[in-house]
Amino acid sequence: MLTCGRYMASSSYSNSPCAACKFLRRKCMPDCIFAPYFPPEEPQKFANVHKIFGASNVSKLLNEVLPHQREDAVNSLAYEAEARIKDPVYGCVGAISVLQRHVLRLQKELEATNADLMRYACNDMPTSTTSSQFGRRMGHEGGSFGQSSGLYYSSPWNNEPYDQDSQERGGEGNM
């Protein structure tokens, strides 16, 4: 009971500053914008974000997004900051290039496999069945290449829009 009471007291009346205020050596106010997202037991998270983005930029960004989005925003900033510290030249953009090339390779492999499947199926099955199978498999349902999402990301190295037509142009970065 005492332990429980003490635990409740420390969580309700905690004077422990958040990791950001500890790092910045300032008083952690009750309305500190960093406190919900930079707990004191994760000091490295804020240290990384501070090194790459700076405290005031992070604070401005958090003020620009809705409160329910701030946790995701902080986590994505922390991810980018850590990636940039590990790879000062490319940061997490390096991973994007690798993934884009991987997607291209898989798409080509899928096209080749579907072509093989067509050849086997044509030898084996009636034409009407083959057409319906291929309509599904080539992504006309479900948007296999993400076209239904309505989003695209440019290739980091030539700013081409990342859609199906430009993938072959944009896929080979200079990394």
Partner: protein, 162 residues
């Protein structure tokens, strides 16, 4: 040589552009938007420190990647380019699934056409299971662990695009 125009960074920061300005080679004065994005997201002094820590031949690529990240963050303040990573990982998973299904169908057809395939490929139970699988009813979106050995799911969520 006459006075040179200050680089985009020094124009924005309203300071004299020295001959050895670290930003000048990468932020020409005719593209002010590029530096303003980077400054907004990272801050000029952070960018300067990052560039100083790199050998000169790597600074061009570093600036390009910083510009890309900054633009992504301005476009999507919540996820930035981490959103692109999640999206691409999702694509990889879907494509791997589709490829596996197509390859399994080929194998199935091959087995139907060549019933006397060598038995070391699979045992009789596995052959029966494969031949009886109805690929037309497989769910379009199966949970499929990404084989990417590059990065883990950045936000520890299966997909951001529900």
């Amino acid at each position: 040589m006459g006075g040179t125009s200050p680089c985009a960074s020094c124009k924005l920061l309203r300071r004299r552009c020295a001959k050895d300005c670290i930003f000048a080679p990468y932020f020409p004065s005719d593209d002010p938007h590029k530096f303003s994005m980077v400054h907004k997201v990272f801050g000029a002094s952070n960018v300067s420190k990052m560039l100083q820590e790199l050998p000169i031949h790597q600074r061009g690529d570093a600036v390009s990647s910083l510009v890309y990240e900054a633009n992504a963050r301005v476009r999507d303040p919540v996820y930035g380019c981490v959103g692109a990573i999640s999206y691409l990982q999702n694509q990889v998973s879907q494509l791997q699934m589709q490829l596996a299904v197509a390859q399994a169908e080929i194998l199935c057809i091959q087995m139907q056409q060549e019933p006397n395939l060598p038995t070391q490929i699979m045992d009789q139970d596995e052959r029966s299971l494969l031949l009886s699988t109805n690929f037309n009813n497989m769910p379009q979106y199966l949970s499929f662990a990404s084989s990417s050995n590059v990065i883990q799911d950045p936000l520890k969520r299966e997909s951001l695009w529900i």
